[in-house]
Symmetry: C2
Subunit: 330 residues, 2 copies
């Protein structure tokens, strides 16, 4: 059931086509799943109808975020993790999200090529996606795509993102469990603290653990975790070593995910995270709506003329923002 | 004139204190400069007064953005670049911005420790900053801090940011000239394309050029630049090699910055970028205002109750966002 290239052949022109498409996705039709995700990521006008039709399936999959700097081996790890989850009998969805490229539109061929291993597995959906066109950006498009995969019966949805920074934070607000991948020689412990990843990781994976410096990276992370403040019952981030390119350590990653899931359920944290995620999603959509309204001002003459005044020192940007908001009727 | 630790001792309680503080910063008092940046980054209530007082000094410095993944040597390069710019007689401001850490508050000791070289140089201001508390986040706080440094007479302001992704885009919208630092072995050319950095870099710096793989990185970048579409007169990104830790290649970086500055002026692009920056700043402030209004809803009962409904599948997030915006009066 991998992403079918002919998915766009399914015509969805009107709101009344949505229920049938959702029904087909529920029944496991990969073309319907792919089409729904395309509509969601393009911010199609039927977006709201799709969201309404999918609303009942919220929270049915475990959402696992997987992130880290370029070059740490995220795609390889995801690929192997899919294999391990399939071996445990899970239906798996993969969203390879690329928030770091507003210019290229995000989805490039690389990920799909590397995921060809699962192209013929009917229990796996794989999808590269970008946030182009979507009202609330990545923060709103991805939860909707997750919901499509939940509706299609996935037990686990892996969300892979590129980059260090804002992306992690968005993944953390999206996922039940957040994996942060590191590799030896990608920067020292101070850099990890600077990037704020210590606060969002539920599981650290030191990938490429056969390389020089892996022990030091492992120790640095363990040391930072030891320094973190947590109360009794709080989750202590796990640290796992892997060599994803050789399939080593993958079961340990899967076990750490299971362990975290158990903790989430036991402490009522799963529902709390789902609600926090919903709140972030609602805010992102609402801000997207407002940004869109602002966009129509940008295309007009108001914002450029205010910007020119600020650039020449005639007014300050706060006064300009007040004038812009007045135009917006806010 | 480096950042004085006693800066916070200058009391600024009311709007009427602002003109004196700005006057002292204009006269080169480092404590006044530091205090103004603190007020700006904390989103103090006198923010608007400061912005109004600084408005006339917009655009007086060359703003150079410097970014790249953790571990490529940004701080070391900035440090050496400051030395080179000082040797050319420039007054230099440095803002080490950390957008990637909303949790830690951003400013950690590392950067300042590494910048001790310039601590006693009266022609250099150095400042780590975070965007905590600021209405429009990093995108609005940093331009204001740049304006403080412009007001204090800096000819060049270096803005150093961590991370790959959204941060680059924000730096690009902020800077006249954007430097992207790379290091061998930090990921291949595809990763650079994925991160969208090709589109925003005016100058690429292959740092740690004495390491294995430096030639390959250099060739990959040159290859990607060769593939880029540009018309006659368009800027072709420069690629410079350096070993910042040994001070090698720094003059080449400074020369590339000068060359780009010449191109900006010659093509009327400098003003265009300043206006685009002002527009982005105005939008960020306006969105910040709206987000703040939303925040007061978040602290109330409306958003949590909507989020709970979405999490349990009772309504979809778009319908919830509509209800939220209604509350906002938008």
């Amino acid at each position: 059931m991998a992403d079918a290239p002919t998915a766009d052949a399914v015509p969805v022109r009107r709101s009344r086509d949505v229920p049938l498409l959702v029904e087909r996705a529920r029944a496991g039709d990969p073309r319907a799943v792919a089409r729904l995700i395309t509509l969601v990521e393009n911010g199609d006008e039927v977006l709201r109808d799709i969201a309404a039709a999918l609303a009942p399936y919220a929270g049915q999959a475990q959402v696992v975020g997987l992130t880290g700097s370029p070059g740490v081996g995220k795609s390889t790890t995801t690929n192997e993790l899919v294999r391990a989850l399939r071996a445990r009998g899970h239906r798996v969805g993969v969203l390879a999200v690329d928030p770091s490229s507003p210019f290229t539109g995000g989805a490039i061929l690389g990920d799909r090529v590397r995921m060809q291993d699962h192209a013929t597995d009917p229990g796996v959906y794989i999808r590269s996606m970008s946030s182009r066109g979507h009202l609330g950006g990545l923060a709103a498009a991805t939860p909707q795509a997750v919901r499509v995969l939940e509706g299609a019966g996935c037990d686990v949805v892996l969300v892979e993102t590129v980059g260090v920074g804002q992306a992690e934070v968005e993944v953390a607000s999206l996922a039940d469990t957040t994996l942060v991948l590191l590799a030896p020689g990608m920067g020292d412990a101070i850099q990890a603290v600077k990037a704020g990843i210590l606060e969002i990781a539920d599981v650290f994976v030191v990938n490429k653990a056969d390389r020089d410096g892996a022990d030091a990276t492992y120790r640095d992370i363990q040391g930072m975790i030891a320094l973190g403040e947590r109360g009794p019952g709080d989750w202590r981030p796990q640290v796992v070593r892997s060599v994803a390119a050789r399939g080593e350590g993958i079961d340990d990653i899967a076990a750490a995910i299971d362990k975290h899931r158990g903790w989430l359920v036991e402490h009522g944290e799963l529902r709390r995270r789902q609600e926090a995620r919903a709140a972030a999603e609602i805010e992102a959509i609402a801000l997207g709506v407002l940004r869109d309204r602002m966009g129509s001002l940008r295309d007009g003459t108001e914002l450029p003329s205010l910007a020119a005044k600020v650039a020449e020192g005639a007014i300050d940007p706060y006064a300009a923002a007040d004038q812009l908001l007045e135009q917006l009727g806010s």
